[in-house]
């Protein structure tokens, strides 16, 4: 039984390698193997602040984080309550405004998810993601 189970595990683990290697070879030229590609929509805090009132800040963090503090004037839009919050955001959105989405910190990806959905599902343009997120904003205010 134990030998059989080990054999099954090795067989499954080994079999998965074959198509994976094939796919990796197929994508070898277009895959950044050593370094994560930079997001072209990422924007620094300084740049976003220089845009002044044209910026519409969108907070993609969970409700409790937003309640604890957020960038002044920011509207909340997270994936937990997407439909409810989207309506509120679209009320104050205008085509000429630059939408800057942020989440907790550099590592979070809620802002990227929200930005992508705004582009793909809602069809908005001028969507950016704040580098460093809320953490960067707080650091700049200390």
């Amino acid at each position: 039984m134990r030998v059989s189970l080990v054999r099954q595990l090795l067989l499954l683990l080994g079999l998965a390698f074959l198509p994976a290697i094939g796919q990796a070879i197929y994508y070898r030229q277009t895959t950044p193997w050593e370094k994560q590609p930079a997001d072209p929509a990422a924007v620094s805090l300084t740049t976003a602040e220089n845009w002044g009132p044209a910026v519409l800040w969108v907070d993609a963090r969970p409700d409790e984080d937003f309640a604890r503090g957020h960038i002044p004037g920011a509207v909340q839009l997270n994936e937990d309550r997407w439909q409810d919050l989207l309506r509120g955001m679209l009320v104050i959105w205008a085509p000429e405004r630059k939408v800057v989405v942020y989440c907790s910190q550099r590592s979070c990806n809620a802002s990227h998810e929200v930005a992508e959905r705004l582009r793909k599902e809602v069809g908005l343009t001028n969507i950016y993601v704040l580098q460093g997120g809320w953490e960067e904003w707080e650091k700049a205010r200390r």
């Binding site: 039984m1 059989s4 189970l5 054999r7 099954q8 595990l9 067989l11 499954l12 683990l13 079999l15 998965a16 390698f17 198509p19 994976a20 796919q23 990796a24 994508y27 895959t31 950044p32 193997w33 050593e34 370094k35 994560q36 590609p37 993609a60 963090r61 969970p62 994936e79 937990d80 997407w82 989440c103 907790s104 910190q105 590592s107 979070c108 990806n109 809620a110 990227h112 998810e113 959905r117």
Partner: protein, 149 residues
């Protein structure tokens, strides 16, 4: 008495097979979605802050195939015990990583079901993962009991 036991055994078999097909199909679906966009999956892995990019991108090419293969093994009942162990292991690692990320204040997208999982909250994701894990445990113990009998 004999007939009743046979019916009970038959019912258990149907339940086990149905659950195996459901879980297998979920793993095939999840694997296939990731196969279509390995870089996106690599980004999702990196967001957990456990693996560096060079490792994450290699895993992103490998794990979806493993999920797909295990899903097929569960559905067609081939290499069944191995597939149960691997899928259970993957689920446990994923649940632990999700909880650890959340505890560190990282809002991660699991990347499990592509855009289909957008509407699920963190609690929803976790509930789904624990449900899958519970089914995998059930299948493991049911199959072990059957082998012993």
């Amino acid at each position: 008495m004999g007939e009743g036991a046979a019916m009970k055994g038959g019912f258990r078999f149907v339940v086990r097979q149905t659950l195996a097909v459901i879980v297998g199909a979920i793993f095939i679906y999840a694997g296939a979605l990731k196969l279509l966009d390995p870089l996106r999956f690599a980004t999702d892995i990196t967001n957990y802050h456990i693996l560096p990019w060079p490792v994450a991108v290699r895993f992103a090419f490998y794990l979806p195939w493993l999920e797909l293969l295990c899903g097929l093994a569960l559905i067609f009942h081939r290499l069944f015990a191995g597939a149960l162990l691997l899928t259970g292991g993957m689920m446990m690692v994923f649940i632990a990583a999700s909880i650890a990320a959340r505890a560190r204040g990282i809002n991660v997208s699991c990347g499990c079901f592509g855009s289909a999982s957008h509407s699920l909250s963190f609690a929803g994701h976790l509930a789904l993962d624990f449900a899958l894990l519970a089914i995998l445990f059930f299948l493991w113990f049911a199959t072990s009991a059957e082998r012993r009998a």
